[in-house]
């Protein structure tokens, strides 16, 4: 019963995602004539552009376009320019990129300043602080996370420690104990308690955004380089602040013969930066790749469909089977990547205070 309802749900998700993509494909068909110069001759269906549009940030949640009507949720635009100051308005004011509003216009989703003639004014610097779909979705995910976690915490407070966990508490507890016992304790030794709030926050922060990104029609938050850069840089500072004398001694005076030092010291020094860089790229690449693969499989239907209608319909079941398969893998990847990011952060923190570890162990 449980399994059946689950597979039906998955099927619904897949079908829903197909419909969304179908509509967005239509939107391109109808948008192309308005674009004017960029009009393709044979077909306006451009899979690469669609995929990029799916995985990139945007100023609206665009669900479908039926004929000339866009079904989308436009989001607030917040712009700061040293020359013009702070400007706030809704993205709908641009009328889907057709209009100029308060001296700004939207060029392929990018907001640029325009001069009196309505042309791109490169002399004005614009910082786009808009609540884009990634930002909004991240906020929704984080509000959900806070509500869920604080609810669970209140349950612990209300029931006390002696009562067995129940409901959602039961689902969260093994994950928390997993992060504590498999990530915190083995890598950080008895200093783990100090880092637990950070590790748990990173884990759930990535996990909930990964999972939210899997909802069809939602934004690809964790597959955005800006998101992973922030997390990576925070990891970098946490690692840096937990370093000790031994760590720096090992970097600038590694225990190797003198003639190797000129080679090894720069390598070791670069290692400080490559570790968080690897974290940034790994999460970004994994999540982006998953989204690309899923959209590619769906796109295949329309690529075949462009050749012949029969091929398109014929390939649809194969494509769906692959999409559903990859979808399950992506759910797994959502957990795995959250775990890997957290675990590697813990490993790097552990390395940066390893000397102290040994010292304490010898006392």
């Amino acid at each position: 019963m449980g399994m059946a309802s689950k597979s039906i749900k998955t099927l619904l998700v897949a079908v829903f995602s197909i419909f969304l993509l179908l509509f967005s494909a239509n939107s391109f068909a109808s948008d192309a004539p308005a674009g004017g110069a960029e009009k393709h001759e044979a077909s306006s269906f451009d899979p690469a552009k669609l995929i990029m549009e799916h995985i990139m940030d945007a100023h609206e949640f665009h669900f479908a376009t039926i004929g000339e009507k866009h079904i989308s949720i436009p989001l607030p635009v917040i712009l700061y320019s040293p020359e013009r100051g702070l400007t706030m308005f809704n993205y709908s004011k641009f009328n889907h990129g057709h209009d100029v509003y308060e001296g700004y216009k939207s060029e392929e989703g990018h907001i640029v300043a325009v001069n009196a003639a309505g042309e791109h004014d490169t002399t004005v610097t614009v910082y786009d602080m808009s609540l884009t779909r990634n930002v909004v979705q991240m906020f929704i995910a984080l509000i959900l996370l806070c509500v869920l976690m604080i609810g669970v915490a209140n349950k612990y407070k209300r029931n006390g420690a002696k009562v067995a966990p129940s409901g959602f508490q039961n689902a969260v507890e093994p994950v928390i104990t997993f992060v504590r016992d498999e990530v915190g304790k083995p890598n950080l030794g008895h200093a783990y308690e100090k880092f637990m709030p950070y590790l748990l926050t990173v884990f759930f922060f990535i996990l909930i955004n990964n999972l939210m990104g899997l909802i069809p029609g939602s934004a690809n938050v964790t597959g955005n380089i800006a998101f992973t850069i922030v997390l990576g840089v925070i990891s970098f500072f946490v690692i840096l602040f937990s370093t000790n004398r031994h760590f720096w001694a090992h970097i600038f005076n590694p225990p190797v013969p003198g003639f190797v030092k000129p080679i090894l010291v720069p390598v070791e020094f670069l290692g400080i930066f490559t570790k968080p860089f690897a974290l940034i790229v790994r999460l970004f690449a994994n999540m982006v790749a998953g989204h690309i693969v899923i959209t590619c499989f769906v796109m295949l239907i329309f690529i075949f469909g462009a050749m012949s209608k029969v091929a398109g319909w014929g390939f649809a079941p194969v494509s769906m089977a692959f999409t559903i398969f990859i979808y399950f893998i992506e759910i797994l990847v959502a957990f795995i990547q959250a775990f890997i990011f957290t675990n590697l952060t813990a490993v790097f923190i552990g390395q940066s205070m390893e000397g102290a570890h040994h010292d304490e162990a010898h006392h």
Partner: protein, 164 residues
Amino acid sequence: MELLNPGVGLLVWTLLAFLVVFFLLKSFAWKPILASLKERETGIADAIASADKVKAEMAALKNENEAMMAKAREERAVMIKEAKETADKMVSDAKDKAKSEYDRIVAEAQSAIMQQKNAALTDVKNQVGALVIEVAEKVLSRELSNKGDQENYIKQLAEGVKLN
């Protein structure tokens, strides 16, 4: 490439969101959850430890009891053995004593008999001697006419001898 170009807005909002979520969850979620988990785990560990301790104490108590029982059994056996020995000894002592008393009494009786006998014999000897002398005296002092009378007389004399 567009994909690798981080948007400044998303950078700022993500950083802000992470910091807010971190501090919110740190004080309102992770702290109470981790504290409860720790409390429960230490509670369970303590309960197991005390159960083990009680078990060990029970085992020690049982061993002690068994040792005491064994000792008591041993003591009882020793006591029974001792009592038996004492009883046997008393019986044999009594027997020995009785026997020696009996021997002593018999010996005394024999020696008394012997003494009495010797005294009697001595007395007989003395009396026989005296009698012989008296008879001889009487025989000598009286003249006998006939043999019959003589014999009667001896018979009469002999009868007069009291052998007691």
